[in-house]
C-alpha cells in the first residue's frame, strides 16, 4: 500500500474541500477500495474518510412518497429496515443478495454505487487495462471472459458493473444526489454510470471531488411493491457476483400489466435498464409468451464480448422471463431465506418431461 494522506473532515463542505487535491479518494467502508489499494491497483494520494460525516446515515421517507437513502446507510441496515423492505422489496432483496453478511454490515449505499468492476484484468496491476491505465489496451479481450459484458461494451473495455443494489435502483428510476464545489445536483442513476466507449477510465458522472450524499427513490417506485423481485444467478449460493441478475417490477391493472420496470445486472458496465422491453409489456397480460418477447427485446442489441460469454445472452433472456414470472406471482410476504436465489421460491414452468414423484 502506498503512503497516503488521511483526513477525517467534520462536514460535507470540508470533505469536498479536502477531496479537491489531486489523487484524493473518498473512503467509505473501504470494502472495495482498501482491497484495491492492498493490491496496488489504485494508489490514492489522499483518503478523505467520510464515514463520520453527520447526517448521511439516515433513511428518510419523504412527504412526496419517495425515500431518501443517506450515503452512509449500511447495506444491511437498509435491507432490514421494515418500512423500506416492504415498500421496495426488490431493492431489499438485491441488497441481501450481495457480498456476504460481514461485507453488507460494513458497506455503504454510496460505496455500492462507487464499487469498481471485478474484471480480473483490472485487478491485476500488471495487465493492460484502459480503465486503470488509459490507452494501455484491454487484456480481457481474448482472455478469460466468462463473466464479461454482452451489452454496451466497446473495443476498449468489456468489463461489467458488479453491483446488485444498482440493478433495481436503475429499474425504479433512482436519483443520485451529489454535492461538489459547485453546489448540489442530482442525476438519474441510469445516467450515473457510464458505458466504456473510448474512455473507460471515466466510470461515473462524478466530477473530481464530487461526493454522493444520498440516493433517492421517487414516489412512483413504491407503486411496484406488490410485484417486485430481484433474481440473481451465481456460481455459488452466496458471496459471489452475479453471472447475470435481473430486477423486475410490475404494476398490474386487473389482469393486464399497467407498467413494467426491468433492469439487468452483470451484463454491462452499468446496470442495464430495458426500456424497450418495458414498453412491450405495458398493456399486455402477464404470460410467458409476453415475457419471452420482452426478454428478446431487452437482449436485441446483445453481442458476446468473448466466446466464453455467449451463454450469458440466453441466460439473461431466461432470467428476465423468470424475474417477470416471479414478480407477476406477487412479492412474497417475507423476504426469502435465500434472497434473490432461484432456490428461494416456487416458480411455475411447464414441465418438459413427465412429472415424476418428488423425491422425499
Amino acid at each position: 500500500m502506498n503512503l497516503f494522506d488521511y483526513t477525517r473532515p467534520a462536514s460535507v463542505a470540508e470533505a469536498i474541500a479536502a477531496a479537491q487535491a489531486p489523487g484524493a479518494a473518498y473512503l467509505g467502508a473501504g470494502t472495495n477500495l482498501l482491497d484495491l489499494m492492498k493490491g496496488g491497483v489504485v494508489t490514492p494520494a489522499r483518503l478523505v474518510d467520510v464515514t463520520r460525516l453527520p447526517g448521511l446515515d439516515r433513511i428518510e421517507f419523504l412527504d412526496d412518497g419517495g425515500v431518501r437513502i443517506g450515503a452512509l446507510v449500511r447495506n444491511s441496515d437498509l435491507a432490514h429496515d421494515p418500512r423500506f423492505a416492504k415498500t421496495y422489496p426488490a431493492v431489499a432483496e438485491a441488497l441481501l443478495a450481495g457480498a456476504s453478511a460481514q461485507l453488507r454490515n460494513a458497506a455503504t449505499a454510496a460505496g455500492n454505487l462507487m464499487q469498481r468492476t471485478r474484471c480480473p484484468y483490472f485487478a491485476d496491476a500488471t495487465s493492460p487495462c484502459n480503465k486503470r491505465a488509459p490507452g494501455s489496451g484491454c487484456a480481457a479481450i481474448g482472455g478469460a471472459t466468462r463473466l464479461h459484458a454482452v451489452l454496451g461494451w466497446s473495443e476498449h473495455c468489456i468489463a461489467t458493473n458488479p453491483s446488485d443494489f444498482c440493478v433495481p435502483l436503475a429499474a425504479f428510476d433512482a436519483v443520485v444526489e451529489i454535492e461538489g464545489a459547485g453546489g448540489r445536483r442530482a442525476v438519474a442513476l441510469v445516467d450515473f454510470h457510464r458505458l466504456p466507449g473510448d474512455a473507460p477510465e471515466r466510470e461515473t458522472d462524478l466530477a473530481p471531488g464530487e461526493l454522493i450524499v444520498a440516493v433517492r427513490l421517487p414516489p412512483e417506485a413504491a407503486g411496484f411493491s406488490a410485484h417486485a423481485r430481484y433474481l440473481k444467478v451465481r456460481d455459488r449460493t452466496s458471496y459471489a457476483f452475479a453471472v447475470v441478475s435481473a430486477a423486475a417490477g410490475l404494476r398490474l391493472n386487473g389482469d393486464r400489466i399497467g407498467e413494467a420496470r426491468l433492469a439487468l445486472g452483470g451484463v454491462a458496465l452499468k446496470p442495464w435498464r430495458a426500456r424497450e422491453a418495458e414498453h412491450l409489456l405495458a398493456g399486455q397480460a402477464p404470460d410467458p409468451d409476453v415475457f419471452r418477447k420482452a426478454a428478446d427485446a431487452a437482449l436485441a442489441g446483445a453481442k458476446p464480448s468473448g466466446e466464453a460469454n455467449v451463454f450469458k445472452i440466453e441466460l439473461a433472456r431466461r432470467i428476465l422471463v423468470r424475474a417477470l414470472t416471479l414478480a407477476a406471482a406477487g412479492t412474497p410476504e417475507r423476504l426469502p431465506a435465500l434472497p434473490a436465489s432461484p432456490f428461494a421460491a416456487p416458480f411455475a414452468v411447464p414441465s418438459p418431461s413427465p412429472a415424476g414423484a418428488a423425491h422425499g
Partner: protein, 751 residues
C-alpha cells in the same frame, strides 16, 4: 513448547478407555478464546516484517529491481535479492534424495512461474515491507509461457506421485474390449486447484549464531528440519521448529516451501527475527497445487454387466523445472474387479509452480473421473449404478490380486443406500422435479483411499504421582491430533486423560513423521501406543519381581493397564496402583520410547484401503442452470475409529471438499501470461455455508488385524473421493446432461 496438560476431564469418559469416545477437541477452548498461538502470532520485540516481491511473468528473467526506491521507503530495513541473499550450503535445485523438491530462494534472476519470489523486503512494519516490495517495480525479459495440457507433446514420466510406476497393467485390455458386449469411451478434465488453507504460510525465524528457531506451520517438522539443515549447512538438531497448530495444510505444508525458507534467510541477512506471511495471492505458485488432468477411459462389459476391460489414461502437467505427476489412475487399480486393467500416465511441462500433494492427491482427480465413467458404463448396461458397482465388487485388489486386509465396502453401500433412500431412484435422467419445479437428481460414487503408514517415534513417562507424559512431534492441522492422539496416549499408559500431559507440535520432540497420506493417527498413534506399552512393561517388571506386590510372580499371566492400575489379566482382583509400584521401587518415574512403521510382511501380503459409498442429491434450475447439492450421505469403513466426533467431522469436511471439486474449484489462469485471474477467496470459489447441504456421515464398523497395531486406516482424505463423482452423477441424473469438464458450472447446463 505446546502441551495439553492435566486440564479438564473429558465428558463421557468410559471407564478405562479413551479411544472410541466422541470427545470434543481438547484444544477447542484455546482456539475459540484466541489463546492458541499460530505461527504468525509469535512476534517478539524487535521482530521485523518481510514481504515478498513476486514475479508477474511466468517465464523469463528479472532484468531490473528498483532496490534504491524500496530502500528509500520509510521503515524499510533491507532488500534481499539474488545479489545479497545469504549464501546457501546447497543449491536449492539440488536433489540429494528423491523426496525433495526444487525451491526458488533467490538463487538467480530466472523466472519459472508467475508469483515466484524474486525479492524480499524487510521492514519495521508490514505496511512498509509491502510498499517496499511494490516499489521494486521489477522489469523483465519475458518469454512466452507454455500453459495447459496441450502446451507441448506429452511424455511418459519415470514415476508418478511418490515414485509409483506410470503404467500398470493386468490382463489384456484390447481382448477385454473385443469381448465386451457394451463399451464406452469418455474423456474427463479436472482443473488446477490450489490448497487455500485458511492460515497462509507464515514463518517467524530467528537466529542465534548457527542455531535457528522457526515458528511455522508444518505437516512434517522433521523433514523440514532436514531440508533447512542441508540448505544452511547446519546440523538438524540446531534447528527448532515450533508448529503446535496449523490453520489447515491439506498437503501444502507437508514440505517446507520456498517462502518459509526465505524468512530464515531474511532473518540471517538482517540479524534480527523476521516474520513473513504470504498474501493469499502469493500462495498460488510457490507452495504447490493440484495439477490439471485429462483422463480418458475405455470400458467394456459383458451381458451380465461385468467389466471385461478398464483402461484409464491420464494426462497431467508438472512444472518446467521439477517433477510431480498427479497419480490420478491409482483408483482404477483398486476399486472395480476387471480381468483386464490398464492404467497409464503421461505428462507435459508447463510454466507454473511445481504441483504437489493436495488432499487426496491422485485419488480426488481420479475418483471423479472413474466414478463418472462407471456411471456411464452402468447406463450403457441398463443397470442401476449401485447394482453395477456391486456386480463389479472387487473381492481382491484387482491390479495385484492381493486380498484386502479388511473391506467393509458392501456394508457401506447397503447402509448408505438405505439412509439415502436410493431404491426409489428412477433409472432414467430428468424424471423428477421438486414442488418448486427444480430438477432433482440422485447420484452415487465409491470412496477409496489407501491405508498408509510412515515412521514415527514417541516417548512415554510414568511418574510416581500416577500421572503420565507422552511426547511426540505430531502435527495438528485442524484434524484433531491433539485430541485423538491424546486418547491413544491415555490408553497406551492406562491412565485417564485427566492424568496425562501430552506434548506435540515441536521438532524438539521425537520425530512423528509426516501428517499426510491420512496416516498420521495410525503412525504417530502407533508410536505412542508402542511407547506406552514399553513403559507399562517396565512397570510390570518392577511389580512381578517385587514380592510385596499383589502382582508378584505373575509375569506369564500378562497385564491390563487401566485407570492408573495394573491388573492381572487372568484375575482382575489382583491389581496395584502405578504409584504404589513406583514408590516401593523408589523410582520417581519410568520412561520408554516406542516407534511405528509399515509392517513389510503385512504390506506384502495384503492390499490395505479404506472404503466408502457416497450418495448425493442435487437440484438444478431447469432454465437457469444453477446447481445446488441438497443432500449428501456417506458411509465409510476405515478400520478402528479413535474418536467418532472428529472422524465424522473429517468425513463432512471431505464430502464438502468433494462438492467443491465437483462444482466450484478452478484456478483460472490467463494462458497468454500464465498469471492467475482468481487468486483470492472472493473469486476462487469453495462452497459457502449456504451451499452446504444436509449431510450424514455413517461410520461403518470395520476390524482390521493387519493394517497396523491399532487397526487404524485413516480418514482425512477419503471423504473427497466418491463425493465429487456422486455429485457429478447426480447432476447428470437431474438434467440428462453429462458434463465431463470439472467443475460443473451453470453455463454447461444451459443446453
Amino acid at each position: 513448547m505446546a502441551e495439553i496438560a492435566l486440564t479438564s476431564a473429558p465428558q463421557r469418559a468410559r471407564h478405562g478407555s479413551s479411544m472410541g469416545q466422541p470427545l470434543t477437541r481438547r484444544d477447542g477452548p484455546l482456539k475459540v478464546t484466541g489463546r492458541a498461538t499460530f505461527a504468525a502470532d509469535n512476534v517478539a520485540d524487535g521482530t521485523l516484517h518481510a514481504a515478498l516481491c513476486v514475479a508477474r511473468i511466468a517465464r523469463g528473467r528479472v532484468t531490473h529491481l528498483d532496490v534504491a526506491a524500496a530502500e528509500a521507503h520509510p521503515g524499510v530495513v533491507a532488500v534481499m535479492t539474488p545479489d545479497n541473499a545469504p549464501a546457501l550450503a546447497q543449491h536449492p535445485d539440488d536433489k540429494p534424495h528423491g523426496f525433495i523438491f526444487r525451491l526458488d530462494l533467490l538463487q538467480d534472476s530466472a523466472v519459472r512461474y508467475a508469483n515466484q519470489p524474486i525479492a524480499v523486503v524487510i521492514a519495521e512494519t508490514l505496511e512498509a515491507a509491502t510498499e517496499g516490495a511494490r516499489l521494486l517495480s521489477p522489469r523483465y525479459e519475458a518469454e512466452t509461457p507454455r500453459i495447459g495440457l496441450d502446451a507441448e507433446p506429452p511424455f511418459t514420466p519415470p514415476g508418478i506421485g511418490v515414485g509409483q510406476p506410470p503404467e500398470e497393467t493386468h490382463g489384456d485390455v484390447e481382448a477385454g474390449l473385443a469381448a465386451a458386449s457394451r463399451r464406452i469411451a469418455a474423456t474427463y478434465e479436472t482443473p488446477a486447484q490450489y490448497h487455500n488453507a485458511m492460515e497462509p504460510h507464515a514463518a517467524v525465524a530467528s537466529w542465534d549464531g548457527d542455531r535457528l528457531t522457526l515458528h511455522t506451520p508444518s505437516q512434517g517438522m522433521s523433514m523440514a528440519q532436514g531440508r533447512l539443515a542441508g540448505l544452511f549447512g547446519i546440523a538438524p538438531e540446531n534447528i527448532r521448529i515450533e508448529s503446535p497448530f496449523l490453520g489447515g495444510g491439506f498437503g501444502s505444508k507437508g514440505l517446507i516451501s520456498g517462502p518459509q525458507i526465505l524468512a530464515c534467510m531474511a532473518a540471517r541477512l538482517v540479524g534480527r527475527p523476521v516474520k513473513l506471511v504470504l498474501a493469499r495471492a502469493q500462495m498460488y505458485g510457490p507452495v504447490g497445487h493440484r495439477a490439471e488432468t485429462r483422463q480418458s477411459f475405455r470400458l467394456g462389459a459383458d451381458d451380465a454387466g461385468k467389466l471385461t476391460a478398464l483402461e484409464h489414461e491420464t494426462l497431467t502437467a508438472s512444472s518446467r523445472f521439477d517433477d510431480f505427476f498427479e497419480p490420478a489412475g491409482g483408483v482404477s487399480h483398486t476399486l472395480y474387479a476387471s480381468p483386464a486393467i490398464a492404467v497409464r500416465h503421461q505428462a507435459v511441462r508447463v510454466d507454473t509452480g511445481t504441483p504437489l500433494f493436495m488432499r487426496a492427491p491422485g485419488e480426488a482427480s481420479g475418483s471423479v473421473a472413474l466414478e463418472s465413467a462407471i456411471d456411464e458404463m452402468a447406463l450403457a448396461c441398463g443397470m442401476d449404478p449401485l447394482e453395477f458397482r456391486l456386480a463389479n465388487y472387487a473381492e481382491v485388489e484387482p491390479i495385484s490380486g492381493k486380498p484386502f486386509s479388511s473391506k467393509a465396502l458392501r456394508e457401506c453401500y447397503t447402509r448408505g443406500a438405505e439412509h439415502f433412500g436410493w431404491s426409489a431412484r428412477p433409472r432414467a435422467p430428468r424424471q423428477t422435479r421438486d414442488a418448486n419445479g427444480l430438477l432433482v437428481g440422485w447420484g452415487m460414487g465409491t470412496a477409496t483411499f489407501p491405508a498408509l503408514m510412515f515412521e514415527a517415534q514417541a516417548k512415554a513417562e510414568l511418574r510416581a504421582d500416577g500421572t503420565g507424559l507422552i511426547e511426540t512431534g505430531a502435527h495438528d492441522m485442524g484434524q484433531g491430533a491433539w485430541t485423538a492422539l491424546g486418547q491413544i496416549a491415555a490408553d497406551g499408559l492406562g491412565i485417564g486423560l485427566d492424568r496425562l500431559t501430552f506434548r506435540m507440535g515441536s521438532s524438539d520432540l521425537p520425530n512423528a513423521g509426516i501428517a499426510g497420506g491420512s496416516a498420521h493417527t495410525a503412525t504417530a498413534g502407533g508410536a505412542i501406543h508402542a511407547a506406552g506399552q514399553a513403559v507399562i512393561a517396565q512397570l510390570a517388571d518392577l511389580a512381578t519381581n517385587d514380592s510385596a506386590s499383589p502382582l508378584y510372580g505373575a509375569g506369564n499371566a500378562g497385564f491390563v493397564a487401566r485407570d492408573g492400575r495394573l491388573f492381572r489379566r487372568d484375575d482382575e482382583s489382583r491389581s496395584e496402583a502405578y504409584s504404589d509400584i513406583l514408590a516401593r521401587a523408589g523410582r520417581a518415574s519410568l520412561t520408554a520410547t516406542g516407534k511405528a512403521s509399515t509392517d513389510p510382511a503385512a504390506a506384502k501380503t495384503y492390499a490395505m484401503h479404506a472404503h466408502g459409498a457416497v450418495f448425493a442429491e442435487v437440484k438444478v434450475d431447469p432454465d437457469l442452470g444453477q446447481i445446488r447439492v441438497t443432500r449428501l450421505v456417506g458411509a465409510f469403513a476405515a478400520g478402528r475409529i479413535v474418536n467418532p466426533r472428529l472422524v465424522t467431522s473429517q468425513y463432512y469436511g471431505g464430502m464438502i471438499w468433494g462438492m467443491s471439486f465437483a462444482l466450484h474449484e478452478h484456478a483460472a489462469m490467463d494462458a497468454r501470461t500464465g498469471r492467475f485471474l482468481n487468486d483470492n477467496l472472493g473469486e476462487y470459489h469453495v462452497p459457502v455455508n449456504a451451499d452446504t447441504p444436509a449431510m450424514e456421515a455413517i461410520l461403518v464398523h470395520e476390524d482390521d488385524a493387519h493394517v497396523n497395531a491399532l487397526g487404524i486406516k485413516g480418514v482425512g482424505e477419503i471423504g473427497i473421493t466418491g463425493s465429487a463423482g456422486a455429485i457429478a452423477n447426480a447432476v447428470w441424473h437431474a438434467t440428462g446432461i453429462r458434463v465431463r469438464e470439472i467443475p460443473i458450472t451453470l453455463d454447461k447446463l444451459l443446453g
